[in-house]
């Protein structure tokens, strides 16, 4: 069995905007795992996603948790819903003005690099 986390990191690093999905019930799942939390099948894969999501919540960090991020503070972290039950946690691009943010607004996702790692980030508002 492949490590589902490694598979997703690698796909992102390869430039593929995708998320884990269950080939049995169709549910998306994040963070990825070996078992589908909706139907408990183990038939999990990666599926491409639309480059949009809904902004659920955000928080601005003023002191980095580790040296990896020390040069980046302050930065804003968000929870973004891909569908009503699938959430990712990522950065909001510094180009986005915080006062423009609204809960439930649509945002544009694209692969970016945070702390040296490729991952989907909020690149702008829709």
């Amino acid at each position: 069995m492949n490590d589902p986390a490694e598979d997703l990191w690698k796909a992102w690093a390869d430039g593929r905007l995708c998320i884990q999905n269950c080939t049995n019930c169709g549910a998306l799942q994040h963070p990825p795992g070996p078992v589908c939390a909706s139907c408990h099948a183990t038939t999990l894969d990666l599926t491409d996603i639309a480059p949009t999501g809904k902004l659920v919540a955000w928080s601005t960090v003023h002191r980095a948790p580790s040296p990896t991020f020390a040069d980046e503070v302050p930065y804003t972290i968000a929870v973004i819903a891909l569908d009503p039950t699938t959430f990712i946690e990522s950065r909001i691009s510094p180009a986005v003005v915080e006062s423009d943010l609204r809960v439930d607004m649509s945002v544009r996702l694209e692969l970016g690099e945070i702390g040296g790692r490729a991952m989907p980030v909020v690149a702008g508002l829709v």
Partner: protein, 377 residues
């Protein structure tokens, strides 16, 4: 009735060079044994929490050996912040199940004296890798949930801050609390932002701590014992991203754990006359209050501002000052409840000894929940 608590003890929490977690576990255990009025040799069960600052293959084994006992049952558990309440649940299960007769339930850690490294970083790294990747603090994870709660309910930063103000007022009367100077809502809101919308004064302290209780079979209880009338545990998630409820209804598994505990005890939230609620952040208290059914969804902030949790209010809570002003370690919620109910809380003893109390531990990022219902015999 399931099992009974004979006594409680706490260690000194003043940091000192070389102060070990085991020494605080021993100090609090001896205090609990003395308060219980039993001999060390009567202990035949030991359950302890984990230490973040000090390495032990099995903390309970090292504590048992330090106390010179050879228990019939022992274990070390890790349930993050809920550990303080869960060591009591496990001790109750052990004596109910016949694995032992009289168990020590202990949690101690030298988080200041024993840990020169940045605890914040170590804790953050324990989140899911897909959370850690964007650089959140533990505080950020709670802040995201707080932001969602506030936007959904209309609760304000003043509502959240009122929790810190309330518990500081309680700490001001407690000689053993770390911070005793009264604060205002403005003080909280003008303290540095930790991770918006949570300010530094809305976050739990980091201190050394040790706490212990002696749990025995109900039939060995006596006058002054505190019965464990009910308990419940529930776990909803490890990663907040896996629990959509946190961002929709704001419900946590504390609804389930408290329901189990209330049902077992045959009481409800309106019957309580004291609560000790895990207060790692201000938001935690508001959400847990609603899960317990103490107030309607979105109304906990108003209830706190109206004085519900005040020592002279409808439900005196976190009477020692809590994690926000007294000291670290969810075990202190347990020891404080027992001491108030036994009438030995000293300078901050409530005017009337509580008869029925709720103690609640929360672990992870609102994932692991443990509720105890305690009754005075």
């Amino acid at each position: 009735m399931k099992a009974t608590i004979l006594g409680a003890g706490e260690s000194d929490r003043t940091p000192q060079p070389g102060r070990t977690a085991i020494s605080m576990a021993v100090e609090s255990s001896l205090a609990a044994i003395s308060d219980a009025g039993i001999e060390i040799g009567e202990i035949d069960g030991v359950v302890t929490g984990y230490s973040l600052a000090e390495r032990h293959l099995d903390f309970s084994a090292d504590l048992a050996e330090a106390l010179g006992v050879r228990p019939l049952w022992s274990q070390t558990i890790s349930r993050s912040g809920a550990t303080g309440s869960s060591v009591v649940v496990d001790a109750v299960l052990a004596v109910m199940g016949g694995a032992c007769t009289t168990a020590l339930a202990v949690w101690a850690d030298n988080r200041v004296s024993g840990n020169p490294e940045d605890m914040t970083g170590a804790l953050s790294a324990s989140l899911n890798a897909f959370e850690v990747a964007s650089g959140p603090l533990i505080t950020t994870q709670y802040a995201l949930i707080a932001h969602s709660y506030m936007s959904r309910t209309g609760a304000t930063s003043e509502d959240l801050a009122s929790v810190a103000v309330q518990f500081r007022k309680h700490a001001s009367l407690n000689e053993a609390a770390k911070y005793r100077k009264l604060i205002t809502i403005d003080d909280v809101l003008s303290s540095p932002m930790a991770s918006s919308p949570l300010h530094r004064l809305e976050c739990a302290l980091v201190t050394d701590y040790g706490g212990a209780v002696v749990v025995t079979r109900a039939d060995r209880g006596r006058q002054g014992a505190i019965d464990v009338l009910g308990f419940g545990e529930a776990l909803s998630h490890s990663s907040i991203l896996r629990n959509p409820d946190l961002f929709s209804t704001g419900k946590t598994a504390a609804g389930q754990s408290s329901r189990s505990a209330f049902e077992m005890a045959g009481v409800g939230p309106a019957d309580l006359d004291m609560a000790q609620i895990y207060d790692c952040f201000t938001i935690t208290v508001l959400m847990l209050m609603e899960d317990f059914g103490l107030c309607a969804r979105g109304e906990a902030g108003a209830a706190v501002r109206d004085g519900m949790l005040d020592r002279e209010g409808a439900l005196p809570s976190n009477t020692n000052g809590g994690l926000l002003s007294c000291g670290s370690g969810g075990i202190l919620h347990v020891t404080e409840a027992v001491r108030q109910m036994r009438g030995v809380a000293g300078s901050h003893q409530l005017a009337s000894r509580p008869e029925l109390a709720l103690v609640h531990g929360n672990g992870g990022i609102l994932g692991a929940q443990t509720t105890l219902i305690l009754g005075r015999r």
